[in-house]
């Protein structure tokens, strides 16, 4: 007999069934509020952003401002390959730490000792080496008794969580017809749906979000991020329009909603062939995980011609009516909106170096004073194509109410130009729509990086720390009153979350590009820091920050604990 569950009952029943079967699902009960969601499973780091609220905040407080100076290295794990560094955020569930290294090599380790439990290396199609994004591995997802990978040859793969044995593999993307678009970020779980997009914001192709059944790998829906609307995309411009969802989305279990940010339009700096708003590029989307239907969309940068995508994290705040979503885009503006309908509540500017958009109306979202590239004319555009921040995520602390994020104060000059089709034959070609593109200092200043603590609703600055070179790691906040941020030279800085005062640091020897986490095993708190500098951004930065070329590469997961 078939029993029809309501969607909520179905989820709860499924979670209970899975737990009773001993499959180790991340969460047995469904949070009713954003605050509950953000504080769930305090001992673990079960998801990419720890929870669907995307705070990157650990409720653990054993390591605090007073004793942080006593931290020692508990253990170090090395993936054995330093190609493009260690870019992932590890996952920890029930004392087991999972992480992914270059070329999708996955490890399960004892979270207290670092001892390897199992490891897995997918046999990647050699064509993946021709992708611009080869080797890039930004994370894995754990749940439903499985470990999920988005692979560098266009697959979703599920492994047995206990043994690392491959359970299923599903080819979703053809690299040959998508300019080497690969899954560089981990697909995420929304109930029994596994979803994610490919990297390739600058690829002249039509990007999509893919969803499969997490238990079988059978596709359930595909969302075309290029809206089928001639007003948005005249002629066939959408077929090369980009719009990649190249970073992990999040799942709001309080409303059964996926949030996912969408990247820039292509060609990046040449928009003449795509006059229109170019939906849904540079947008944040709310999607029903069961059907793949759009609940709402908020386009932040209509007709982007600066490489200002919006693929970054959607942070849900526990304050007020717990309905607020905060979302940064590469233009360096933060949109504050209602998470249930996308209605705009505020827009504020994160970076100082901004000359492409004079202002954004905080009530309507209208861009005021657009300074666009001009064909054949070299123009200074700020921020540069890496954005006011790269993809390294921020952290939110419910203790202080501050959002902590790295920023970049840097510009580039661009001469807009229609791409020559003969130069777009390579799988790894980028459709930039530029004759030249050169990094520059902001007018009247020097290029730099900054860690800022801000009020996420208003942008009011609470404190900031400048770096000579922008930090590329993801920020961690903890209930011990700490904010942890690694720089590109390999120094891991521990700050007071309230004041920004540096209370301790540790030199790991190679820069930080991955996601820092904290977790607890048998009552002992650990802080794990992926170290090892790499990624495309590092290459682009080198012209503005020549010292980058002298910094050593590496790949090591360094884990700290108190003695």
């Amino acid at each position: 007999m078939m029993i029809e569950f309501t969607s909520r009952r179905r989820r709860i029943a499924l979670a209970l069934l899975t737990v009773s079967a001993g499959l180790g699902v991340a969460s047995a009960t469904r949070a009713e509020t954003v605050k509950d969601m953000g504080m769930a499973q305090p001992n673990d780091w079960p998801q990419y952003h720890r929870t669907g609220a995307a705070w990157r905040y650990s409720p653990l407080d054993q390591i605090n401002q007073s004793n942080v100076k006593n931290l020692k290295v508990a253990w170090i794990a090395q993936p054995g390959d330093i190609s493009k560094g260690l870019q992932a955020t590890p996952i920890e569930v029930d004392g087991v730490l999972y992480y992914i290294g270059p070329y999708n090599r996955v490890f399960a380790l004892d979270g207290a000792t670092g001892q390897i439990i199992w490891q897995y290396q997918p046999k990647l199609d050699p064509i993946s080496d021709q992708s611009f994004y080869s080797a890039t591995s930004r994370g894995i997802t754990v749940g439903r008794g499985k470990v999920f990978i988005g692979s560098l040859d266009g697959r979703f793969i599920a492994l047995d969580q206990k043994t690392g044995k491959e359970l299923w593999s599903r080819q979703l993307v053809d690299l040959k017809t998508t300019y080497g678009s690969v899954f560089s970020s981990p697909p995420q779980l929304a109930g029994d749906v596994l979803f994610g997009g490919t990297t390739g914001g600058d690829q002249p192709t039509r990007q999509k979000i893919y969803a499969v059944n997490a238990d079988t790998g059978v596709p359930v829906w595909t969302f075309d991020t290029i809206k089928d609307d001639p007003k948005s995309w005249p002629g066939k411009s959408g077929d090369v329009g980009g719009g990649a969802a190249w970073l992990p989305g999040t799942y709001d279990e309080t409303t059964d909603t996926i949030y996912i940010g969408i990247g820039n339009a292509s060609p990046d700096f040449y928009g003449a062939d795509r006059e229109g708003d170019n939906k849904y590029t540079s947008s944040v989307l709310a999607i029903d995980p069961k059907t793949g239907k759009l609940k709402w969309a908020r386009q932040e940068i209509p007709h982007d011609v600066w490489d200002y995508g919006a693929p970054y994290e959607a942070v849900l705040l526990p304050t007020g009516d717990q309905k607020t979503l905060v979302h940064l885009n590469k233009a360096g503006f933060v949109f504050v909106m209602n998470k249930d309908n996308g209605k705009l509540e505020n827009v504020w500017k994160l970076v100082d170096a901004q000359n492409t958009i004079k202002a954004i109306d905080p009530k309507t979202g209208e861009l005021i004073g657009r300074n666009e590239p001009v064909v054949g004319e070299t123009k200074l555009l700020c921020p540069w194509l890496l954005g006011g921040r790269s993809w390294n995520h921020g952290a939110y602390s419910p203790q202080t109410g501050y959002w902590y994020t790295n920023t970049m104060e840097a510009c580039n000059t661009v001469t807009s130009k229609k791409d020559d089709p003969s130069s777009l034959k390579a799988m790894s070609a980028l459709s930039l729509g530029a004759a030249d593109l050169v990094t520059k200092a902001p007018p009247g200043g020097k290029p730099l990086g900054r860690l800022v603590a801000v009020d996420p609703l208003t942008g009011a600055k609470k404190w900031s720390v400048d770096y000579d070179i922008p930090a590329l790691g993801t920020v961690l906040a903890t209930a011990g009153g700490l904010v942890v941020n690694g720089d590109v030279e390999g120094v891991i800085h521990f700050y007071s979350a309230k004041s920004g005062k540096e209370v301790w640091n540790f030199n790991a020897g190679s820069g930080i590009r991955g996601g820092l986490i904290s977790y607890s095993v048998k009552g002992k708190q650990y802080i794990a820091v992926p170290t090892g500098l790499g990624s495309a951004a590092v290459g682009f930065m080198a012209s503005a920050f020549p010292k980058v070329n002298t910094l050593p590469a590496g790949a090591a997961l360094v884990v700290f604990a108190l003695p």
Binding site: G180, M427, S428, G539
Partner: protein, 122 residues
Amino acid sequence: MVRTKILPVFVCLTTLSGAARAENKPPFDLNDPRRIEMGKLRFETSCASYCHGFDGVGGVAPAFKARGDDLDPQYAFETITNGRKGRRAIMPRWGGAYSPEEIWELVAYLEFLAHEKPSQTN
């Protein structure tokens, strides 16, 4: 010292594809301005933005501009054709995308850059 200089070339040569081995001599004069211009166009689209910098300066790799005579054209051709695994970055192989002639045009542009004067500012 000698060993470290020879070894990368040896490794590269031993891993060459048949196509690369057959085409390892330029089919035209590398000083031909038209070929250099074609190579420049291709370089700016495929090589410059994230990795080598426009005008071959400022990327994650050593500068091409004004580097003099140490850029062996055959080595450059083979590296572009087969790709190269670096420390922080990976150069994809371009042999499948561009014809040997198109790759030689890239080499012509790199040789042109190598013998240019250094820029006053970057």
